[in-house]
Amino acid sequence: MDIKRVKDYIYWLYYQYLLITCSYVLEPWERSMFHTITVTVFAMVVYTAYVFVPIHVRLAFEFFSQIFGSQPESTVS
């Protein structure tokens, strides 16, 4: 029962995606092309985020900890 509801919901989401991006009106080959492009772009965004975000977060963390962390040290020395 619940599986069916989830399935319906996923179908609804997919349908919304079709309608909003206007790919609903495209011919099948265009639609698959469009899907490929969106999926690729999306995958690349996710991958980039996965690769770069942790590095940047770490760098930012180090940067801020340097500013706030080193302040008392410098006054002491």
């Binding site: 349908y15 309608l19 909003i20 991006t21 206007c22 009106v25 495209l26 011919e27 265009e30 469009f34």
Partner: protein
């Protein structure tokens, strides 16, 4: 005059402020419908008692963004397909420039061609669908399929039976095949046949026409009237007879093509005012009086204001009292096209003039068509005898066009007599009342469901906003699957971001039919995510008390 620009009651957070304005301008005292005014309605009470409740709710911002996204994707794929066509990768199905004409001005490269070729073509199956029965409350459609994505269609020979018709302008349900109702028409058909084969000025004036013209004049309460065989030509051929060079036409921006064509053919200068916006109109009138004609600065010979009764794409009703006030103040003429409003509004179906409780003498040229409420064909022009006599001799429609065929004239006479109660029944009045009831019911339910619908609460034309291009196709196809025929409208008939479906409520629709349609809409509205309205649902019910139903049977 209350501020007419406040009529677009788009954003919730403006309400409070508006309410204050209304209180200040003293309308609050005048018409006691406080609840309606607080939430939605904006009245312009000083000129007339009637509260105009018109809705033009704006969609949330994200809808516009997504609409453009949709059009963007469509356009990109359009360019791709055009590219493929240009390089011979795909068969060309449309007209293209010939090789020899390569260096001439391109013929098929403007935006509208692109749009037709690459966007409209994809959902073309929702338009121009042939029907094969009387377009009453239910009709039959010819089933058709396409094998090449809407470039060509093939009829399967089957019909789709008993589709609920929400698209025909059959406001009073006079498009019918009931043998009893059509008895007189049959008699006339046998007496006169169908063809006239001549014009009004030659041998095409029949006693039927005279009878019809007398009846129309009586119905409208004017001195004289003239009927024409075609409504479109009534506008486009009579305006040039009335105004010409050195005259000024002030035209509403949403006027029907027939009015636009007439105005252009006349050779007069045309200025456009914003839809139903009295400040815009007054500014144009004032400028016209102050500055006169360009360069020569002579006064304009005539100033003619062109408006419609009910606007068929917005469902709004013209602000006639203010227009008449302005027209009198600035001594202009008024041409009112009642194509959709005659028969459909007013307590006894006499159009917007009656709706606002005004006198027909206030309007100089009353025009209307018999195509809609009367279930026939043709149009009329009514007004002072001088005017009509002038048109009889000067209108191209009278001199060159074949006159109306007698069975059609008889159908109009029958419908009009029914409406006036001259046939000894109250059926006509019942139809008008039924239409009013159906309209208010349909509009109220749609509001409650949370759709954005445009227009006046009393207008039987109900546009429901769809916005996104993909949803136009999906909506019409899925409605047809549920056996409901709807009209969807997109660019260029509407602004590009405001695609819509347009329902025309009829007196012939039963409550069950409307409920079927409403239930289907409710379901589809959730599925396609069409319920954009941001008014809280609980605030709606009390807004639409049926205050005008004192005639209830």
């Amino acid at each position: 005059m209350a501020n007419p620009s406040a009529v677009c009651n788009g954003h919730l957070h403006h309400h409070h402020q508006k309410q204050n304005n209304l209180l200040k301008s003293g309308i609050y005292k005048k018409n006691g419908i406080t609840k309606g005014m607080k939430k939605n309605g904006v009245s312009n009470g000083t000129l007339h008692k009637k509260t105009i409740t018109e809705h033009f709710e704006q969609a949330p911002m994200y809808v516009a963004v997504l609409t453009f996204l949709g059009f963007g994707v469509g356009t990109i794929f359009g360019y791709l397909r055009d590219f493929m066509r240009a390089w011979g990768l795909e068969k060309r199905n449309v007209a293209a420039e010939r090789e020899q004409q390569k260096d001439f001005v391109p013929l098929y490269q403007d935006f509208e061609n692109f749009y037709t070729r690459n966007l409209y073509m994809r959902i073309r199956d929702n338009w121009n669908r042939p029907i094969c029965s009387v377009p009453g409350p239910q009709f039959d459609l010819m089933e058709r399929v396409t094998d090449d994505y809407n470039w060509t269609f093939r009829f399967t020979g089957r019909t789709i039976k008993n589709v609920i018709n929400m698209g025909s302008y059959n406001y009073l349900g006079f498009a019918e095949t009931d043998v009893n109702a059509l008895k007189t028409v049959t008699i006339e058909l046998q007496k006169y046949g169908t063809g006239i084969c001549s014009t009004r000025q030659e041998m095409g004036s029949l006693d039927k026409h005279v009878e019809l013209e007398k009846l129309v004049a009586k119905f409208l309460g004017v001195e004289d009237a003239m009927v024409f065989g075609m409504g479109f030509a009534t506008n486009s051929m009579n305006i040039p007879a009335l105004v010409g060079k050195g005259c000024l036409i002030l035209s509403d921006e949403l006027n029907h093509t027939s009015l636009v064509l007439g105005a252009r053919l006349s050779g007069a200068t045309i200025r456009i005012f914003k839809h139903n916006n009295m400040q815009s109109l007054e500014k144009l009138l004032r400028d016209a009086i102050i500055y006169g004609q360009p360069r020569s600065r002579r006064a304009w010979r005539k100033i003619l204001i062109l408006v419609e009764g009910i606007y068929s794409m917005e469902g709004s009703i013209v602000r006639l009292p203010e227009i008449v006030f302005l027209k009198k103040k600035y001594k202009a003429y008024l041409y009112l096209d009642e194509a959709h409003s005659i028969g459909a509004v007013g307590a006894t179906g006499r159009g917007v003039v009656e709706y606002f409780g005004m006198s027909p003498d206030d309007v100089d040229v009353l025009m209307g068509t018999f195509t809609k409420s009367f279930g026939a064909a043709g149009g009329y022009i009514a007004g002072k005898k001088d005017l009509v006599d002038f048109l009889r001799t000067h209108s191209h429609s009278a001199v060159y066009a074949t006159s109306m065929c007698p069975p059609v004239a008889e159908q109009i006479i029958r419908a009009m007599k029914c409406l006036m109660g001259l046939d000894g029944t109250t059926q006509g009045l019942q139809r008008v009342r039924q239409l009013g009831k159906n309209t208010r019911y349909f509009r109220r339910r749609l509001h409650e469901m949370g759709f954005i619908i445009y227009g006046n609460d009393d207008s039987p034309v109900v546009p429901l906003l769809l916005y996104m291009p993909g949803k136009i196709g999906a909506f019409a196809r899925r409605m047809l699957e549920k056996n409901i025929g709807v009209v969807v409208v997109g660019f260029p008939a509407t602004p590009i971001t405001e695609s819509r479906a347009r329902f025309c409520v009829s007196a012939a629709h039963t409550r069950e039919m409307l409920d079927t349609v409403l239930n289907a809409l409710d379901e589809l509205g959730d599925f396609l995510h069409l319920k954009y309205s941001r008014y809280s649902k609980s605030s709606h019910p009390e807004l639409y008390e049926e205050t005008r139903l004192e005639l209830e049977d």
